[in-house]
Symmetry: C2
Subunit: 236 residues, 2 copies
């Protein structure tokens, strides 16, 4: 999925690269110039079905609501604790998962923001020249598409056992919203704008990064409800 | 560290294997026949310093209190969600961490229990004959020692960025104890013995597996305190 893409021709070129490697589910979050975009068709070069079936979302959260593993593409971040993988590593994780996963690409000029990446379980960095590392959007899509097809080359260094896979984005967002609501009630969560923002980021990060399963997210919602002294939590 | 080791000669042989690969910090949790054990010396075959400096603990929690990454050795578990790695993978994680980590070996006959493994961040399985997979305790120690020395062979599939490393065992235990105390107060945590036990296991698992940093554990303690409507949490 493409977050805040700027140029229609890049969206078209990305759609073409997707179809080159067998992908058709293109999702656009807040495309700068609206959608549909007449510039996308020509550079799609025949990948019209991908362009025509593209869906538009108001937020990254909405776009990943049904995705169970979300990996953002970016250069290495230094602002929060995050797991960084390679294209081969990202692809191996996604191929190991029976449920839907998402690869997220940021806007051409700036890439994904810190908040975008906080919503991702991990970050994928394409190895490139450290002095000239920024790839064209559609070329980055092509690299990941190629990695997908090559796939399964490197065995994972570790694997999760007895794992349904991470919860869907919407389930996780529900847990985080419940936590935020309760912490706003108690007054802790919103003491001052700057502090509250740092708290919010840490909250999103510590509950997103682990890749909790759906059952675990439900369990944690029960924990939150009951920490607040409210009955009705499902006893585990 | 050896949890509930049975035979003194195995403890001695494990100490020898440790020193063979340069390790000296032997920790024993509830050794069956007490400590010191006269049978350990002979099989240590010269690794007397390891035997003499061995420390004894009442519980695995006490033994790992100052360790930031704890990996248990076991055959694959099917009772909870856990991360499984190889000797090379386990060693790579430990060598990447500047702080103290622990390799945990179970009793000869039964191996580590489910509760022992819940206290571990990950599980290490030694590749072996599926029809005859149980290794002698000291030989398992030797395999991991060898893997340590060979080390750094396989690049990790993904790595954590901006990571102080996981919190010490004692910090994590404090968070889990605070959660348990509050959930016992509300009555949710202890509705019936069987249910409470399943809840406790899931609580330990969801807060142990992610490898939260010390700062994150402190943050989560603030969240717990404030969800309960108690002031004094450090605003983040």
């Amino acid at each position: 999925m493409l977050v805040r893409p700027q140029l229609g021709q890049n969206i078209g070129a990305a759609a073409r690269a997707m179809l080159n490697f067998g992908f058709t589910d293109l999702r656009l979050v807040q495309p700068r110039d609206g959608w549909p975009n007449a510039d996308a068709g020509p550079s799609a070069a025949g990948a019209d079905a991908v362009i025509e079936s593209a869906r538009v979302y108001d937020s990254l959260g909405d776009a990943i609501a049904d995705c169970h593993l979300t990996i953002g593409t970016a250069m290495t971040m230094r602002t929060h604790v995050c797991r960084v993988t390679s294209p081969a590593g990202a692809v191996a994780e996604m191929q190991a998962l029976p449920s839907r996963s998402a690869l997220v690409f940021g806007p051409e000029r700036t890439g994904l923001t810190r908040d975008d990446l906080l919503a991702c379980h991990a970050l994928c960095t394409i190895p490139s020249n450290p002095d000239f590392g920024s790839l064209n959007l559609a070329q980055a899509v092509a690299v990941l598409g190629y990695a997908w097809v090559v796939g399964h080359a490197a065995p994972a260094a570790s694997a999760m056992v007895n794992h349904d896979g991470p919860a869907a984005g919407a389930e996780l967002a529900g847990l985080i919203a419940a936590l935020e609501a309760r912490l706003t009630e108690t007054g802790w969560y919103n003491p001052a704008p700057g502090l509250a923002e740092a708290s919010r980021r840490m909250l999103v990060n510590v509950f997103t990064r682990p890749g909790f399963t759906g059952a675990e997210v439900q369990f944690l919602r029960g924990v939150v409800r009951n920490l607040a002294g409210r009955p009705g939590g499902k006893p585990g």
